[in-house]
C-alpha cells in the first residue's frame, strides 16, 4: 500500500503518517535536537592540563589558544595554569583551533590541533600538553599540518 492510497483511506492521519511527511519531520527533529545541544554547550570553554617532561603538573605555564583564520592559525588568547597544571580558556570563538603551552626554563609544548563539531563547543583535552624540557625551545610549533584534520582530542 503506497503513501497516496493510504492517505486516501485514512483521511488526515494518512496525510500525516506517510514517508513524505515523516522523513522531513524526523530530519527536522534531529536538527532541532542538535541545535538545542549546541546552544547549551557553546560557551567556548577549552580545558586541559600541562605537564613537564617528567610528567609533573606545571604551575604558571602560559597556554595559548590559536584560532584558524582564513589560511593560518592566529593567536587568540592566553591563560596561566593553576597549581595542578590545569587551565581553562573561555571564549573560544572557533571550531578549528590549536592549543600550546610554554614556560620559561621548562620549554614549550607542541601545538595540539583540536577539531570541534560546532563553533565554541566546550571541550576538555584528554591528552595533556607536555613541555619539552628544552629551555630555549621556540613555542608553538604545530603538532601536525594545520590543514590536516586532527582527531578530536576531547
Amino acid at each position: 500500500m503506497d503513501a497516496y492510497s493510504s492517505s486516501r483511506r485514512n483521511g488526515w492521519r494518512g496525510w500525516l503518517l506517510n514517508r513524505f511527511v515523516l522523513v522531513p519531520a524526523v530530519i527536522l527533529g534531529v536538527a532541532a535536537a542538535w541545535d538545542l545541544y549546541a546552544s547549551t554547550h557553546d560557551d567556548g570553554l577549552v580545558a586541559g592540563q600541562v605537564f613537564d617532561a617528567q610528567g609533573k603538573p606545571v604551575e604558571g605555564a602560559d597556554v595559548t589558544l590559536w584560532v584558524f583564520s582564513f589560511t593560518t592559525f592566529a593567536e587568540n588568547r592566553s591563560v596561566k595554569t593553576d597549581a595542578d597544571g590545569r587551565f581553562r580558556i573561555m571564549g573560544n570563538p572557533s571550531h578549528h583551533i590549536q592549543v600550546s603551552a610554554v614556560k620559561p626554563g621548562l620549554g614549550s609544548s607542541q601545538r595540539i590541533p583540536i577539531r570541534l563539531y560546532f563553533r565554541s563547543q566546550n571541550t576538555t583535552l584528554r591528552v595533556p600538553l607536555v613541555l619539552s624540557g628544552k629551555a630555549h625551545d621556540a613555542p608553538g610549533h604545530p603538532a601536525r599540518s594545520a590543514s590536516a584534520p586532527g582527531r578530536l582530542d576531547l
Partner: protein, 271 residues
Amino acid sequence: MMRRSPTWPIHLALTAVCVVMLVPFYWVLKTSVSGENIFSYPPNIIPQDPNIFYYVDVWYAIPFARYFLNSVIVSAITIAANVVFNAMAGYALTREFRGKGFILMLFLSCMMVPFQATIIPAYLITGQLGLLNSYVGLALPQFSTIICIFVFKASFDAIPGSLIDAAKVDGLPEWRIVWTIMLPLAKSAMATNVILSFIWSWNNFLWPLIMTRTPEMQTLPLGLARFLSYQEDTTGALYAFCIMVLAPGILLFLLAQKEFIQGLTSGATKG
C-alpha cells in the same frame, strides 16, 4: 507449462551496472569524510580515519544556512508554479482546438533552444517586472518547463474522456475538472514534475549568477563557486560541500522514485 528462464543473470548484470554507477557517489562520500587526495596512489577503498569535520568547515566557511534557505525557497516556488502551470497547459493540450498541432510543434521546437540563447530577454523581462534580486525572479524562468507539460499531457491523455464529460454534465468548470479530477488521477505526473523542477531549480547556476545582486540572495551553486574561490586545500571540504548540495535532491528522489518512474513511463505503452 512454460519453463521460466533463471533471473539471476539479469540480477547479476544489474548489480554490476549499479556498482559502476554508484562508485562515483561512493568516492565523493569517501573523500568528504577522509579528505584523501584524489591523486593519491594506491587509492584507499575504505576511508582512512573518517571524520565529519570537513562538513563543519563548509558550514562555517560560507553562510551555508542562508544559501540553503534561498535554494529551498526558490525551489519551493518553482515546484508550486510548475505543478500549477504545467497541469493547466497539459490539460489544455488534451482538448481539441484549432492550431493545437502548431502549438505542439512550437513547444517541441522551443525545447531545442538552449536557455543561454534566451537569457538576455529573460533578464530584461525580469528587470522590467522589478523582480531582479528576488526569490520570485530567481524562480521565474523555470515557472514552466515543456518536458513537464508533456508529462502532464501524457498522464491526462490516459484518463478516460467520459470522466471529463461526466464532470461537465455535472456543471464543473474547467479549473475544477483539473483540480479535483485530473490531478488526483495524475499523481505520478505530479511527482515527476516535483522532482524534475526541484533538481533543475536546485542545480541552476547561470541564472542566479546573473540576476542576484547581493550575497544574501545567492543560492547553493553560487555558494559552491564562492567557496572554491577563497578556500585553500579544498579536497575534503569541496566534496563535503558537494554531498551537502546533493543530499536534498537524492532524498527527494528516493522518497518519490516510484511515482517518478510511473510519471515518466505513463503513456509510453498502450493497453
